[in-house]
Structure formats: structure tokens, C-alpha cells
Assembly symmetry: C2
Homo-oligomer: 386 residues x 2
């Protein structure tokens, strides 16, 4: 027990794909050269392939929140009515940005752990035929819940509104068929299923959304999607790009393409299924039992135990960083991540560690029971008869 | 001649400090942990020390242009009158951002290669007593010219306006005494004298500027300086920070502190002096002879030669990337950089290569003459009698 490897097991930043990390060592490149234009173009093409879209796909030097802001400042105008789905901390971020830009928000709120039903979105659109847009999270990272983006998209597609999906943790963990379903804007971030450090965000823009850009009257300069789309087509960015992160992204995208974007999603889904099975086996409740997503499984701490005890236990006993709850959920839940470069060996270790931490803190569980639940999910998927 | 090392010799991105580059390999850190808060706090303290200020100093995940925008969207209001000094491509960027945010700009324009005299700023302030701010570049990267920030600052300090200085290439190449002179906002970028890859920007904010934040009515969310200043004081950032770049920055700041921030400036100044001496020796004209800065020396190509020939010559013959002119200056000038991790050995090689490239392209110069001019500057500074 004298060696405790540092393990980053959070839903963002996520574990790094080593060759992508190492690729950053070649960062002594100038961005206005043919060598770098090849990297940039390859990243843009790779993002489109992994996201399954021919729509303009624009990298930005920003955290995901910057891309969320860009989708509002570039595609909406002051006073525009917008339907904002809020079921967690990141839904609240939509609400905050819409307020900062003086949109007229119709907020569809659900309790933390819940989801906004597509039928509520459809009703809100019917009641507000002047709505210009709908904002939602694919996966609400703070609660682990997943929205039914297909149903929401089909409801929005029938209207003049555009659908803006924060897919920052959803991408790579649930299908998001941009063109088939009608996702006008999909937002991603580098430090999630893309397996590289934070600092890059991505935005896809549909032709329907581009029309909005023509009339948008909100101030913007650094995040100028039209300008960036034009630059990206030429293998460049308008401002100095984050060269080190683009080098990493290129490597990670090659890996994701090699396994297949669908397999990346399936990987997260299987791990999430196994994590839910382990929680059930250990008598722990899910925080979002109604529609648990596959990016992260939010699990309630046992009654009477602060979830911080579990988070600290992982850090102190096993050198592993797992996520506590955010905001008012802090102390109530802990979150086991699955998005990106996670595998079953990670989950075996997490659940085995969790069992020991629970026992050590006076919550008796049968050692190995949760791990066995994970093993069973693996065995079934791998065709191992048990 | 079969080995040509890749050398990045541009005024941004600049050559990388290797230990800073290598520090990025430890990027598997979560940003909401004590371990990372130490890194973040150390970066903020290090930036303050290197910049020589006790003012709030705020890192942002963005290119420098994002920080320029932040200074406008956070500290000004719609219709505010602003004096905008424009003498190159980056001055034009101030003009563009001010326009995007509907400021009422009084533009003080000079030809490329010139500088806006402090006396013009003082006159404009006298003629526009309602001016809320003055925007200027410390070093105009596109032309190599340096503004007299001390004189401009003293003129602005006597008024109600705040002085916002784009120090993106100026920092580390010319003294910028924030508190003594009255620089209300100083903007920097990671890929310049800080010797690390692009993707981070920094903003210092004076108490006088903070007062403006109280009444600013421009929309902002991602770039919220008040929120970020509060977060930074707690060793955090509001949004997910660029962990890899902060690790690199911490290492680079330790290096800069070890040699001394003044010595970093002196290093650039000596190299710039030597580059000017070499240009004179080779009969080449400076693009900004009136007030050449020390970040980058812009040199005119010989009459009848496109400067692209020189840029390509460096790439093809010596694997070195040097900068061409930007915009209408492309083809007219090439730029030899000095900011950050540059040394005399770099400059010996650049000037020796330049001499050969000039000769190879039909512009006879005496081989070694420029190099000797550089050697003389070194010898004088190092106390070597020649």
C-alpha cells in the first residue's frame, strides 16, 4: 500500500490518451504554416467524422462555456424568445448566458436528477410559436441524467426554432445524430470523450442555424462563428489556435476513428450499465434513476454518510480523483465517470475501492459483490459464459 | 546539409522553454483539487511578480484577442467614447472590437511602421474630456514598433479615462511599470515572452478600472473579470482551466523569476539592438526606424525582392520558421523575433542564414558582416574587448 498511482477518474477532465498527451511535445509549430494547416484540417475533418456530420464544425480556444456563449451571441438577437431546459448546474449555465445576453427565456425547470421531457418542450414550442431556439444538455454532467435528444430534436425541427445542444459530456456517450434528428448546434469540449486536456471547445452549425447568424445583433468578436468557419475551411483559425491541444486532438481523433465512434459510445454505455449494476448490488441508489446517462453515473452516498468521505477515501487510499456533487448536490452524491478513455479495468478498481471505503466508514457491504456485478456485465458483453 | 533542425523563430508562438513543455505531461490533474489549486495560485502569484504588480491578475482560457475583448466587454458600456491608437494590424484589432461592442471610437491612426505619439493621445484626451478609455499596443507585433507607454500612461492617469495596454508582445521586451506609470489594464498571452504554447491570456486590472466594471452594461459571461478575479483569489477559475498550459506556465514563470524579469527584458533589448546592427551592416532598412521595439525587428526586404523569398529560404535551407509581414506588409518585410526564450546563438544563426539567403537570391552582401555586428553587441555587453 505504499504505492498509490495518481488516477484521474472524473467526468472532465477525463483520463488522457497517452499518445495524444505525448503529441503535445511537438508544440513548437507556427500556426500559419502548411505543416500546421494539415494538423488543423485533419482535426476539423476528424471531428466531423466522429460527430457524423457534414455541417461546419468549428474549434474554439475556450472552455465549453465559451462555446455555449458563442452559440447564443452568434445565432440570437437581443430579446429573442428561447426555451431553456434546466435540470442541473449546466442547464443553469444556459439560463445564465441567456440572461447575460438579454434573451427572453422560457425556462422549463426540473429538479436535479430529473430531465425535461420532450413533450414539455413540444408544449412550450406550441405555446410560444415565436420561440427562436431551444437550449438543452444532452447529458447533464452534474446529475448524470441524459435527455432524450432525439425526441426533443424532432419536436424542434418542426418549428422555426433552432436546437442548441450542450453535448460537452454527451458526445461519445450517447447517439447524437446531428443531421438525421435535426440538432442545429452541437457543442463539445476537449477534456471529455476526446481524451485530451481542457482548453478547446467545438461547435457544429446547421444551415438553419447559419441563417440566424445573418440577423444576429448581439455583440461578438472573439467568438465569431462565421469568421471561424471560413478560417477553418482554409485549415486555419482567426486567432492564434491552441497548437498543443490541436496536436493532441489530432492523435485522439485518430484513435477514436480507429475503434469507431459508435464503439466509443458503446464502451461508455457498457461501463455505465456495469456501474449501475454494481450500485444496485451494493444497495446504493442512483441520483437520476429515471434516465441515467452513460457519461457519468451519479450515486447517492449511503444515508448518514457525506459523499465527501467517499471522494476523500479514493484520494487517500487509492490516489484516485473521483467527482463529488456540485452546488447543493455536494456531499450527497459521488460520480463515477465513463466518458472517453475509461475501461473495465478502471471500473473493477473503482468498485473494489468503493466497497472497501464503504466498509471502512461503517457501511457494511459484501466485499466483491459490486465487482462481480461489473464482471457479469463484462462477461455478457464479451460472450463469456458465467 | 542533410539535417535541418526545425526551429520556431517567430514573434508568437515563440520558442518553447523545454521544462515548461515537459511539465504538460503531468496534465492528468483535476482542476478542483488542492494539488491544482497550488499550481493555479502559483501561476497567479508568479504572473504578478513577473509583471511587477499587486493588481488583480486574471488568467483566461483564450488567445490574446479574447483578453482584449474581455477588457472592453467588462470595463466599458455601450456608446462609451474611447481613444483608439492604431498603427498596425493589432491596433486595427482594438478598432474592430470597439466597433463590435458599439463604443464611440476616436481613432488616432498612424501609418504602418509609425507610432502614435503620447502628445497626440494627450491632445485627444483634452479634446474629448468625456473619453472613458485609451487603447494602445505596447509593441505592435505587425510592424515591430514600440509605443512610449510611460508617456501615454502619464497623460491618461491625469484624466478619468482608463489606459488599456495590449502588452501581448510588449511584456518581457520593454519596461511596463503598471502601478508607477498608471497602466489600468495590461494584457498578455502565453505564447509570447512566457515561452509556452498558445491558449492562455492574462489581464491585470487596476482599482480605477474595477470601478468601471461596476457600471459596465455590455453583455459578458465567459469573460467575466469580476467573477474570475474572485475565483483566482481562491486558486481556481470559474470555468475549466487549461490545466496543461497552467502547468507549463508555472514552470516558465519559475525560470523567468530565476533569471529576473528585468533580465528577460534586457535579453530581448540586446538581441534587438544586435539585429538592428546586423541589418544596418547588411544595408537593410528597418520598417519602423523611428521607434523600433525589442519584441521583434521588422526588416524590409531588399528592393526588388519579395520578403517571402527570405521566409521560404529559412524554411527550405535551415528548417527555420521566421515571420513574413502581415496584411499589406506581406512580401515587404520579414520579422526577426527576440521575445521570450531567444538567445544570441539563435541570432548568430539567423543572421548567418540571412546573409546566405540574400546572396543566393542575387543580393550581394559580405558574408559574416552581419554576424560580426551581432558579435560586437554581445562582446560589448559581455565585457569582451574586441
Amino acid at each position: 500500500m505504499h504505492i498509490k498511482k495518481q488516477r484521474l477518474l472524473t467526468p472532465g477532465p477525463t483520463p488522457l490518451y497517452p499518445p495524444a498527451l505525448h503529441a503535445m511535445m511537438a508544440s513548437d509549430m507556427h500556426h500559419r504554416t502548411e505543416d500546421f494547416r494539415k494538423v488543423y484540417s485533419s482535426c476539423v475533418a476528424g471531428l466531423k467524422e466522429v460527430l457524423g456530420t457534414s455541417y461546419d464544425t468549428i474549434p474554439l480556444v475556450a472552455s465549453g462555456s465559451g462555446a455555449m456563449e458563442a452559440s447564443i451571441s452568434n445565432l440570437f438577437s437581443k430579446g429573442d424568445k428561447a426555451i431553456v431546459c434546466v435540470a442541473g448546474k449546466f442547464g443553469e449555465r444556459w439560463e445564465g448566458i441567456a440572461k447575460a445576453y438579454a434573451l427572453n427565456s422560457v425556462v422549463l425547470r426540473e429538479e436535479y436528477g430529473g430531465t425535461v421531457a420532450a413533450s414539455r418542450v413540444a408544449e412550450a414550442l406550441a405555446a410560444n410559436p415565436d420561440a427562436k431556439g431551444v437550449f438543452i444538455q444532452a447529458s447533464e454532467t452534474s446529475t448524470g441524467a441524459m435527455h432524450d435528444i432525439e425526441a426533443v430534436a424532432r419536436a424542434v425541427a418542426a418549428t422555426d426554432a433552432i436546437l442548441v445542444v450542450d453535448g460537452i459530456t454527451g458526445i461519445g456517450t450517447q447517439p447524437l445524430k446531428i443531421e438525421e434528428w435535426g440538432i442545429d448546434v452541437l457543442i463539445g469540449g476537449s477534456q471529455k470523450a476526446f481524451m485530451i486536456p481542457p482548453g478547446l471547445a467545438f461547435v457544429t452549425v446547421s444551415p438553419k442555424a447559419w441563417k440566424r447568424a445573418e440577423t444576429s445583433d448581439l455583440p461578438k468578436y472573439y467568438f465569431n462563428l462565421k469568421k471561424e468557419a471560413k478560417s477553418a475551411a482554409a485549415g486555419e483559425s482567426s486567432w492564434t489556435p491552441a497548437t498543443s491541444l490541436m496536436l493532441a486532438l489530432n492523435e485522439a481523433l485518430n484513435f477514436i476513428k480507429s475503434i469507431g465512434p459508435d464503439k466509443l459510445i458503446e464502451n461508455a454505455q457498457l461501463l455505465a450499465k456495469a456501474a449501475r449494476a454494481a450500485a444496485a448490488e451494493l444497495g446504493l441508489e442512483l441520483f437520476s434513476p429515471g434516465s441515467p446517462g452513460s457519461a457519468v453515473t451519479a450515486i447517492k452516498a449511503p444515508a448518514g454518510m457525506d459523499s465527501g468521505v467517499i471522494v476523500k477515501g479514493f484520494k487517500q487510499r487509492f490516489g484516485a480523483i473521483i467527482a463529488n456533487g456540485q452546488g447543493t448536490m455536494k456531499g450527497q452524491i459521488f460520480r463515477v465517470a465513463h466518458l472517453g478513455y475509461f475501461d473495465f479495468a478502471d471500473l473493477f478498481a473503482v468498485i473494489a475501492g468503493l466497497e472497501l471505503i464503504l466498509v471502512a466508514n461503517g457501511h457494511p457491504v459484501k466485499l466483491g459483490a459490486g465487482v462481480t456485478a461489473v464482471q457479469r456485465v463484462y462477461a455478457e458483453a464479451a460472450g463469456i459464459g458465467v
